[in-house]
Amino acid sequence: MGPPPVVTGVSPRDGPPGTRIIIRGENLGNDPKDLIGLKICGVDTLMTAEWKSSKKIIARTGPGKGKGDIIVITRSGGVGSCTVGFRGFFVQIGPLQDSAVWIDETQTVLANLGRGRPSSPMISKEDEDPLGISNEGNRAKSEEEMLEHFPDASGNLTLENFSPAWYLLENHQQASFDDLKMGLSYMKRRSSQQSEGPITFAKANLSGILDCLDSLTEMCEKFAKDDIQRECINSYAVSLMQAKSCADGLFQEVLGRKDKADATRNALGVLQRFKFLFYLPLNIERNIQKEDYNLVINEYIRAKSLFEDSPIQVFQKVYKEVESQVMKFKEMLQEKLRQPNSLEEQKKLIKYLMSLDIDNDPGWGCLLSQEKWLTKLFMDCKDSNTQEIQEEVPIAPPRHKASGGSLGLSLQAESRRELQEEAPVPPPRHKTAVVSSGLSLSGELVKVTSKSSDQMAGQKFKMPQKVVFVEELTDIMGRHFPDFWKLGQAYFSGSLHKEGGDKSYKPDQNKHAQFKQMVCEILRLFSNLLRAAFLPNSLENLSEKERKMYGQWPENKRDVPGAWLPHCVRYVRSCASSLCRLDLPSDCQACVQELALDMRTNCMFTLLKQAIADVRSLHIKETWIVELDDEFGGRTQLPALFGNIVNETVQHLHEVVVQNKTGETEIFSQRPVQIEATKLCTELLQGFAPCLEQLAFSVDKPNTTSTQSADLTSGSSELVMESSEDHLPSKDKKLIIMLSNCNHTKEHLIPLLVENLNKHGYVEMNKVLRSAQETYEKLDKKLFDSYVEEKSNPIIGSMEPNMYRGRFDWANYKRVNGVRNYLKEVLMGMIEIHAEVFSISPLFVSRVMTKIVDAVAEEMSRLVQCVTKFGENGAIQARLELLALQDAVALYRSAATRKSFKEALDCLTVLTQDNKKTLEDQLNKFKMQFKFQLMCFHSDTGEISESKT
């Protein structure tokens, strides 16, 4: 590597950015390519460097400021050093000076603006000292120090409070007195130079001024000379004229042709220029066909602004054609507007019309036609649906209605109608209904189902016509009404006009009221149509004619199967709530809300009634299969079915009753509704009682099918009654089974159901609970009494004859020989009852047995008291038998029993010691003999069946 470059000279040594400098030194590179770097004041300026020789480079400085090194870098010598530097500074360049670099003027210009006056020329150069004395560079005193000495002054030349002393101290502290004197004279010289400005200008341009004067005199002389030879000019003029006319003649033809050509060209030019107008009729037609209405309108407006007042005939002619076309276009648009269309489309059309400056009010017209259209849609929908119904009437056989009524589904097998576009949504109840019909053991139902099943297979279940109607109507409402409303809103808010034209259009208030009335009418029509279908009673106060208008639904078809009602209600409610979201005026909305509420109430009542009917017909579903349960005792599946019906209904109604959407009235807020609902609930819960009663006391016409299927289901956990041989349990068994069912219903089911109802928001459930409990209480008592009667009668009735069997005589009884058979028979009878009751419901054992024992004891006591005379042995025998009975039934003794026994025993004479012993012996003997049989009276556990055997 060669020696490093050294910069030893720079020319000039300072300057603003962009100064061309000559850099001299040693080893500045062997050739231009050797030079690979040049930095001046830290700024890379290699781009500007021009290599001259190894001793000289010419370059331009960059935006470096202050004193800095000049470093040359060469490939051969590496990074160099320098003995001299360059001082860069920024010159304030005025707006009139050339500058090689970009000047950031924001600072200076803004500062000047802020100061509000132009900077003095005296200090345009920062470097320049007004005294002409060189600046020493180092300030002896700082600004703060100066401020201490001159509190109110400033060292700034441009400020009002400039203090010369400050300035001198600050800038020329070192200067000698002589220097200052020199400076003063310099300042004087400068100011005198400035005042001599115009004179110096004249001096500098002396020769130019003299030249001007010379030429002026020369011209003056020439004119004077020409003036003498005036005649000469006249002759020239004549000959010139002649020459001109001759030339004119020569070129006349050519010029004429040229004029023509120009005219033609001009016409062509005009055609070309106004091509737009001439093509406009064609374009409009084409664009209308393409439905590019925006373009049509824009072009028309442009043409209008250009040519409307044009005086030129051609333009007027074409423009008239355009006008007539636009008129047609307007008519077409209006026609289109009258047709139902989407909201956006209609808004667009209205805007088009507005921008076409149409006279009448297209928005209003559109609203009117929309209203008519909507009304027509509603009516059409109603008509088509009522017609459909009437067509169907003769075809649909009534038996389907019956089945639909009881099962909650309508099978319109014969329907010839095309399937609905939308697959019918099966109501939630539907499925369960089918399932329950499958389970159903009612022969009639099975028959119906099987009969229609083959026809059903090929077809879908068809929705009742009214449901179809509701769906269609609400669909129309939901789809088209919001558009109508929004259009109205837009119309009145003026947004239809803003874009259309600049004129601020004010829709008048009359129209507002009219529109509101329109909305109300549409809503009323909607609600009345639905009312006519579902709640015809609510329309009774309307005139006959009006009612006819809203559609008459055939009476016999009036009842829509309950299962569909929630479905309908759902549609109506969703429709109502969507209307609610539209911010309709409250009075308009009210009728729809009312409708929704009425529908809900109606739905609730209908469903509840249906549930009641279902419950009442439950008895046909009894299977007499008793399921044993440790907790509740034995029962059949009937209570469970009952519970299911209630719960399902409640579940089904849940949506209708409980969930209140915003803006809807609480369904129970009205007192009549409340009362009715409570009544229906009560009826529903009570409805099961007659059913049980009927079953318990029915003199059975055996429904054979049910018991047969019941046999099949008998399992280990279920006790099949012995009556399965003769298909039905005996009457007393039925009684006890129903008793158990009743008890279970009363104790468990009803509270559960009531709680459920309560949970779903039904009111006054306590009352319902109480009345239901009462009903079941009564039923319970009735059943119980009849059962006990049923059971005790045979025993009691056989007691007396048996007692006196074999001419038994209390007075002449020979020998006490154990307890007699009649008592044993009584006991056996009681055991039998015990077993029966226990097998059905162990809970009732004590209750039943107490009653029975009571009756037996009473009879016994009566018999004993009736005896006129006891022999000695007879008394012992009687005592023995009484005691034996007393012991045996000790467990079920009641106060009445005890009293009976006591009375009986009191009739007997007191025993002697011997007799007592005999009595005891006999009693023990009896106990030993009847040990097993008696055991059942002592323990309540299920060892009875063993003991019996």
Partner: protein, 202 residues
């Protein structure tokens, strides 16, 4: 280069070239610095040169400030003069005006430096153009004697006496510095006094 820096001699003699425009100040400088002669004339603003030289066996640095001769820059001359330690006052023997101007420069220098004995050489350049001579040697010599400074005639073109004037001036400067350092102590005290005086004026 790091070597150069470390060995950089402490002594720098600061020389300033003064004289009217076009008398050959830059030519003399460039001849001395780089042994080159530039024919074409380009007015100088202020150029800076510095290089190592051996002065009587001692390595020193000479710092040359080549100033502008044009009147335009007269105002900023004061600044330069203040930093100068020795002056080469150049005129052209072929131009009487340039000779006359030298006294102005002399005056200004003395005013700025405030020192009658400032190292100063009167240089008559373009000695190669004897046929165009307007300023006689005697004339110049006379003025130099008046000022008590040496007069040397040079030619930047032929390199005659170029080195001599720079070296002579450097010797002058060196001897001045020697004197100054001898009196250093006394001066310092004086400086303090002067400062005090100024304060009292304020």
């Amino acid at each position: 280069m790091s070597k150069a820096k470390t060995q950089q001699p402490a002594v720098i003699h600061k020389v300033i070239m003064v004289g009217s425009g076009g008398v050959g100040k830059s030519a003399l400088t460039l001849q001395f610095m780089y042994e080159e002669f530039v024919e074409d004339y380009e007015p100088t603003k202020a150029d800076s040169y510095r290089k190592k030289v051996v002065l009587d066996g001692e390595e020193v640095q000479i710092d040359i400030l080549d100033t502008a001769g044009q009147e335009d820059y007269a105002a900023i001359r004061d600044n330069y003069f203040r930093s100068g330690e020795g002056f080469l006052c150049v005129f052209s023997i072929t131009e009487q005006e340039s000779f006359q101007a030298t006294s102005e420069f002399r005056e200004q220098i003395l005013r700025v430096k405030n020192d009658d004995n400032i190292p100063f050489l009167l240089v008559g350049n373009k000695a190669d153009l004897e046929e165009k001579r307007q300023v006689t040697a005697e004339e110049a010599q006379h003025r130099a004697q008046q000022w008590n400074v040496p007069y040397v005639e040079t030619s930047a073109k032929t390199n005659a006496n170029v080195d001599k004037v720079f070296y002579d001036l450097m010797r002058e400067i060196r001897s001045r510095k020697m004197d100054a350092s001898k009196q250093n102590n006394g001066k310092k005290i004086k400086k303090k006094d002067s400062k005090r005086k100024k304060c009292t004026i304020l």
